[in-house]
Symmetry: D3
Subunit: 272 residues, 6 copies
């Protein structure tokens, strides 16, 4: 069950309005790797964890805080939209700067949300649950998590270069730090699990389910330089040796049987 306190986890006060940047910040709220994604990903992973209480709690602790990250960014966006000339059409005709703002901002900030944040990305595409992962296999999901925190920190770093507002940068410095921590924690958890289970997910596949002659071969194209990659000279992470071969076809040419008449497909033999 969840509880709320009215203070933000960290400050979210821009120095000045900037509606075009407000549009761009939306990526961190409702983008593929925005805070809605990590919050809901960690919550669903926690709710679906069977046993493994400490990991379940780690997921819940982190997910709960990420809801607070949406809160800070929503506050930031609302403030970036405060005091900007977004409805001032008459000025826009006379002032190219106002015109550029009206063309460059997210129109829904003005029309739909009344100068508030939106649950969408920087192009106005609604967040959807197809972004998130909760598989029931923790090693698989921790890999999803370290990816999400890597993409997330990368995006904040890029946005950091796209503003010179010190208040915005203050919040971003906090988010960059938290993404460092979250990369650290998921990497450490992965290391801990790999030590017990091995590196290939899922660890529980019986050997007779796997055509192991294909488990360590890199197939390349003729003009590819991938075969020169250093790591191929060392044992693979699961301890076996890598092999390199030219791509090849091992199945025959497929032929499908005709469909029944009720399918109303093109008749077979129409153009044979």
């Amino acid at each position: 069950m969840f509880f709320h306190r009215k203070e933000l986890q960290y400050h979210a006060k821009p120095d000045a309005p900037d509606p075009v940047f407000a549009k761009q910040v939306q990526e961190l709220i409702g983008g593929q790797f925005g805070e809605m994604s990590v919050a809901l990903q960690y919550l669903f992973q926690s709710w679906n964890t069977r046993g493994n209480e400490k990991y379940r709690d780690l997921l819940m602790d982190t997910g709960t805080q990420e809801i607070g990250h949406i809160e800070m960014l929503a506050t930031l966006v609302a403030r970036l939209l405060e005091g900007a000339p977004v409805y001032e059409q008459e000025k826009a005709a006379a002032d190219p700067v106002v015109g550029a703002i009206m063309g460059g901002m997210n129109p829904q900030h003005a029309i739909v949300h009344g100068l508030g944040a939106s649950p969408k990305d920087s192009n106005g595409v609604p967040w959807n649950a197809g972004y998130i992962v909760a598989s029931g296999n923790l090693l698989a999901d921790f890999r999803a998590n370290v990816n999400a925190e890597s993409q997330g920190r990368l995006q904040v770093a890029r946005l950091y270069s796209m503003t010179d507002d010190r208040g915005v940068k203050d919040l971003f410095s906090f988010l960059i730090a938290r993404d460092t921590m979250h990369q650290n924690q998921w990497l450490a958890a992965i290391k801990e699990m790999e030590a017990k289970e091995g590196v290939i997910v899922p660890s529980t596949v019986p050997p007779e389910w796997e055509a192991t002659e294909f488990s360590h071969t890199l197939y390349t194209n003729s003009d590819s330089t991938a075969s020169q990659l250093d790591f191929l000279k060392h044992p693979a992470p699961d301890g076996q040796a890598f092999k390199v071969e030219e791509s090849k076809a091992m199945g025959g040419i497929p032929e499908l049987k005709p469909a029944p008449p009720e399918a109303h497909n093109t008749l077979p033999g129409e153009n044979d």
Copy 2:
């Protein structure tokens, strides 16, 4: 540029029709971590790579083969739908087995695709590009890739248990092996990159952009057991020590300014 040969990379011949299983196999074609996702993810990552030719080629080699994996699974689905009583309504009334097939299959296999595969997941939801990742940062993206191959191998393993068709299992044993290889290759590439760049993505963030006092602290809730996790006793992957603290609020209570009249928001003070 791309070329095609008519042989499949591996066999894709089920022993018998099974329209309900054909619906389930769609997850491996058009699901979040199906072959459409990995094929297009690797291709876009390759096309967006600047320099780093060998990695660029590795991405392209792997992505090109994944298109061939869609091909094998599309062939498998088409064959699972061959010879099944999907249009035989009169029999269905009399025969509960036929009725169950008609209720349990994907109706679009019959109505839309004429007994062919669909670019959608096991619930019939169309594949969309919101599933894939191509950030321009290879370490970030290789983490996305090892996650995709982990989720993918996990899903094939689960489906392996849901059929007793030996032809299907033969193809699945190949896919399980290739997912082993791909986990191996991305893990090895990650290790290689981390050795040069360090483990925190992106490696290029200047220290003054980061509020480093928050970069190693696990914030927990009062009844959480996450603070007992073993890995917290060891140095974090980036070499610093972890800290554990109770979750706390460090920003003040946010207050937003009133919206301008043109926003037609609720008037401030309406219920203060």
Copy 3:
């Protein structure tokens, strides 16, 4: 069955081209609460109404007119795009105003629709049927309808401030009026139904299905001021008294059983 007359329901003639505003007007066509939403919402509600002929007809009459509202707005958008320099790249290089138009307009108006309207919102996101409601319960759906007309009138009012084109404002004054009427009619119908059924939807839930000890309690967080709201001192709309309590957990700590081996989930006890 439907019929069409070639006259518009009302005028839709802007005084001058304005491609950036054409992008913004799209919110009223293909946005969450645009005319496509209300048209199709009322039609599906009407088609799904069982008995209650007069309400069924009210829904149909209103829905049929809303199709004509899409028509007026599509005409408006097509005219806002007429005569604007959207393809004039050579001028754009020299003239920052032309450049701003090309950056601020919806590119699909030029590339995809040949200067015509699009069935999408102001960010170019396609309209989808997940926006609409047709539940078979008229009181529930009339509440959806009064919401849709409230959001719709609010959006037109905001757009009214964002243009100084008198022709556009003329059409908007008509839409504002119709949204007034539609709020009035759904509010009146709601009042009529509530008088018969009571205010809680659905009215047909037997008392023994409801844990009535939780039906009138406001649960708050410790620092919340919600408990000071005036309305809590009065009887609730269904006639009972409101109560206020601090949020509390009444269920135990959930523990899930281990998954079967075929799920290939993390093994239980892995980190307990």
Copy 4:
């Protein structure tokens, strides 16, 4: 900022596994009016509220609890999937009941989530943020909220009839009660706001923006019975009298100008 306690708000223990019902319960998690929708709708409305602290807090208190409702339902789904024969293909061939379960369940519960809940609806369609509303106008949004709680309670009531599991019904009796409370609270808040602002949203539109001659007229089709509705005889909710007229066209026949050659549209006059 948010905090979590490990106890559930209420019990979520089904008596027995039921994978087909688990699929159906997903509507309450990730459907248009599921708990993800109300949780995120209330949170975004709260974050976007300017002034009006008590309402802001009411939204936050309610939204925070709704996250806990997702938690209860996710737990319920995970338990409905426990101990069911979802991977037992060999039995399925022999046992039509097992076969029906495999055909009638959500395949992603087995393949993607390892017997856990999914952030999707009862057909497996991912939740998306296009479902939610946060306009900055509280009266508009409270109408959205009473609609959401009406649709939500209706759906729980229908699902109540579709199971005879007493544990499931116990949780549903709690959800039905909470939806009663939430309808009560939003209705009471609406009444309070309407008393101050009037019933037409937004209340701030100047009269000269509105073509008031169209603000109270019901336009009907010739064979419609809507004109016989009782409520039309009484004053409209905003105090004016309703009028009834046959639908009519007041704008002329629109003619669009030719597109410029760069649009490569059909040439005008091609078929005139």
Copy 5:
């Protein structure tokens, strides 16, 4: 502007309830080529037509009738859901036929729509405007239209085989006939336009915009039999001769420049 009469265009009375078939019929309402698609496609094409009044009217006449086709199918679905045991859980436990219905039907028909039609496809995926086409070029769009009517008639024919309900088949026989007419009318209009404009869309591209040496060459793969197609021996539809060549690469190997530091991409040279 639009008007409605209460009679259906044609009968829509199934002989008996069939909830599983009701799910399948949804493809014709809200599928990619369902009636929502053709209705809205023709309306938007008409609204965007500049000049060419007769074609504009043809589009409008056809689109207006297609709204009435949604109406017939929505009525059919509502009736297929009437009187079926969809809420009778107690019977379902005892009766495998009832169980199969509950597993094979669309759960939203029961939970969300109260036994009414849904604006979604046969898998419950919401209709979206990404399905439709309105380009401003009539020859292009008439090709879209003949495709839509071809796919639509094909789907009705397949569904015809999947039921033995005479009432359903009566309606389907009407839809099959109308799709014949609509294929005829768009094919005739295409022929008329091609006679004036030529067959290649758009007809207005100046020759110097086209690298005409590539305008008639079929590029094949080495083991392809496509070069044996009969039509290659005849002049192409635009009057030139076809050529056949093996696929070849004519551009060089692309190399991208390094990204600027602010992009935080992988550093160039990292693995060269």
Copy 6:
């Protein structure tokens, strides 16, 4: 199975950076009729073809090349983003041209993709598989294909007018030529198939399935000029004569039966 060579099929070198145009070019990659659509449409059609080997190979040859078209356009977009001032906030404040670029470009090119191409359209909407068609009936699908190539060529022609970059125009001249070829090839294949099967798809519907009295009638509205279309005077493409009639209703007024109590719909008779 698929293979790759590192050369592009054709040149893709713009003369200069242009981030706003990079956004617009995305329509050709991930739009409804972009190269992702045609590539995947042809591949799925090929994989689902039963018999008809030469057509199957034609689809595969064409689809394989279209993947290479995505490759060229992704390269073009990456280069249009090279060297542009997209992260230079400090300059933007001083220089309106930089400001206009930052407002007019796709923010995800900078934030998400690190100056690389995106699998989305010109508004940033992700590509989805709902755009593509693979029905199992080749005549139907070839009509989809000629439509796709017509819309595609039209879009390239429009974009050609929106740039004066000679490098971009060089690539576009190649794409225009290939779309000419592909229109030619699908039109020729259609002609070949129609000669054998007739023009109405599917050709296999038995006459008794069709209410043939409605197969050649154009239904018009009273003020429509469609009845004056020339083509109506000639035999329809299937050889029969067209008829013209005023639109009429032939089914009765539908009445639905009450829903069962478990549906909790509005009670019948509530407002009759």
